[in-house]
Amino acid sequence: MELDLELIVSFCDEASDLLNRWEQICLQIKKQPNSDVWQEMFRIAHNIKGGSRAVGLLEFGDYIHKIEDGITLLRDGKVKTSDAVISSLLKAHEILVDWITQAKTNPAYSPKIQTFLNQFDDIMNGKDSVILEEVKEFNNSQQPEVIQHESDENKGVNLSEKANVQLATSSNQKKNKSRGTHKTSISANETIRISAQKLDLLIQSIGELSIHQSIAWHTKNQTNAEQMKTFINSLQLGQKITKELYEKALSLRMQPLNSVFQRLERNIIDIAQTLQKEVVVSLDGGDVELDKTVIEKIIDPLTHIVRNAVDHGVEMPDVRKACGKPDQGQITISAHQDAFGVVLIIKDDGKGLIADKILKKAIEKKIVPENTQIPESEILNLIFLPGFSTADKITDVSGRGVGMDVVSKALYDLHGTVRIESVPHQGTSFIITLPTTVSIIDGMIVTLAGQNYVIPVGAVEEVINSNRYSTDSTGSMICLRDQVVPIYDLGQALKHNKHIDKSERRAMLICRTGKERIAFQVDRVLGQQQIVIRPLNENIDGVFGLLGGTILGNGEPGLIIDIPSLTEHYVGLNKRKKEAAA
């Protein structure tokens, strides 16, 4: 049978929607067993089977056909719902998701699934008590290191059985790796599902715009006052509609957070099972929308936070009991919209962060100097600095060298922020703010050597008038509230070779990385406005010191300066200088 890649891709997109629902059902059953949903799951499996065979993915069809048989047994009540059943259905889901991701680029892809199918059959035939353990492990193969760890501990026990699982795991590891890379790279032909309503509104606006455009065209040469008024009026309306159009077009990229929440929930449940902890997840605000790019980029940091919450936050059931808490830990993930964007809160009711311990560790690791006075609220945020890890021992679930600094870096890249609130023995909350879209930021327009640049407002701590502060004779340091801050000329930092008159006192931007501050001198600060970021093409993208570009109000291109990189660069330079001197 001839394979049509285009058909396969559209099948895969459809199937991944259905598979999302599949996962949802599994998670739902886990919380609240309900036999009605099997009918829906059966229908999903059946639809996917039909679709896959229609586009020629026969092997895929055979696989899901076997799974469908199992679901039929569940639907007809011949097999009872159990943890093993749900785990194996989630595993089946994982294989399916992986398969369709691969099939998009390689229709001939065919994973090794026989081991899993045998186990699946066994479970569906009621032998679940015997192999429950094995399936649990199998299900966890999405965290390969966990398996490795466990089987090391249980060496010698049931060797033949383990070997079997190990084999399947290794093939899974490979698949997971390739899946990982697939997720990070956004393919050029990526598709988005859009509600028809949004599209209709967009088309309506375009229609309106073209009416005003034609009115303007027909009245452009008229000289009488009445006609002139019509002309100007339609120009103004056209401008208003253009603005609306832009907003509507951007909203096409907005996607609800549901899918992210579902993945996090799945992750929490998987980890909790591995660590033998009991966790209840509650979700709120899954209908809040975020830009697709933002959604894709926050999944990893959020996963890291929830992993931490389960691993380090929530205690073992017996410890919880001793503290007078319910056995089951509670993790709440919620989202709401506020004036600046979207606020995400991940809250656990675990043991909380202990400020003293964090400060001690930070001093030990030389992240902060000894005897420093840091307000308690800031101590917690030290865990976001590079080189910090609170875990006493490195566990397999979290603490794999990826620290919280990666989380804060990822959020920074999205122009978001993260903050911690924690009460010992009551729990920890991560409060994350994100802009709804990455393509519009608040920018400060500054002039350097006669050229206008944009600086993201969030990157600047404050703007000062250098006249009001004392500088040293060479103008290389400024005394800012008892702190000596080195001054750098932003124009020179960007290698502007035009002569810069240093005698002139100018505005300074105070920027900070960690505990170090730097003052960047600019010629003038022109104002603040919303900036629409234009992607730079490959020829000019990724230049040191620049984040991107935009078109300014006067039609000129404006480059967006990467203040954090420059700040870090100069702080590093200073440190090396000091070290060399010492």
Binding site: H496, N537, N539, I540, V543, G545
Partner: protein, 149 residues
């Protein structure tokens, strides 16, 4: 219609020399606009311009080919689509579009030229005038514009 052995070239001047490039390798000709400076780029990269809302880099062919950098000149820009995105090349002036038959083109000319052989397509003769034919696409993509920091 052009016949098979005859190709159309856009003819332009840089310094006192005449160059030509396949017409279809150029997307459009732009009026000169002063590029905005961009840091950490190679010397022949003169900055960025706004082409209907897109930010496009500019390469000064005069500097690329090693001509002296004179500022007072009436110039035009050739906008090319490359694999790495659009890029504009500044030339001194654009002459015309010429059809040059293959027989009038020397593929491997025994001359020394400012043009690297990797993107030199040949030398064509038109009314006693020699035109250096270059592969503009290749010329604009062979080197990285960014400087390593």
């Amino acid at each position: 219609m052009t016949n098979e052995n005859e190709l159309r070239f856009i003819i332009y001047k840089i310094g006192d020399e005449t160059y030509g490039s396949p017409l279809l390798s150029v997307r459009e000709v732009l009026e000169f606009q002063a590029p905005k400076f961009m840091p950490n780029m190679i010397k022949s990269f003169s900055g960025v311009i706004n082409v209907r809302g897109a930010i496009v880099g500019v390469i000064d062919m005069r500097l690329k080919f090693g001509f002296p950098d004179t500022h007072q000149r009436k110039t035009a820009m050739l906008l090319c689509d490359t694999d790495r995105g659009p890029i504009a090349a500044v030339v001194d002036c654009i002459d015309c579009v010429l059809e040059i038959s293959e027989s009038n083109m020397e593929k491997e000319p025994p001359i020394r030229s400012k043009v690297a052989s990797s993107y030199l397509m040949g030398v064509a003769k038109n009314k006693e005038q020699l035109i250096t034919i270059i592969d503009l696409q290749k010329a604009l993509t062979e080197e990285e514009f960014k400087l390593a920091v």
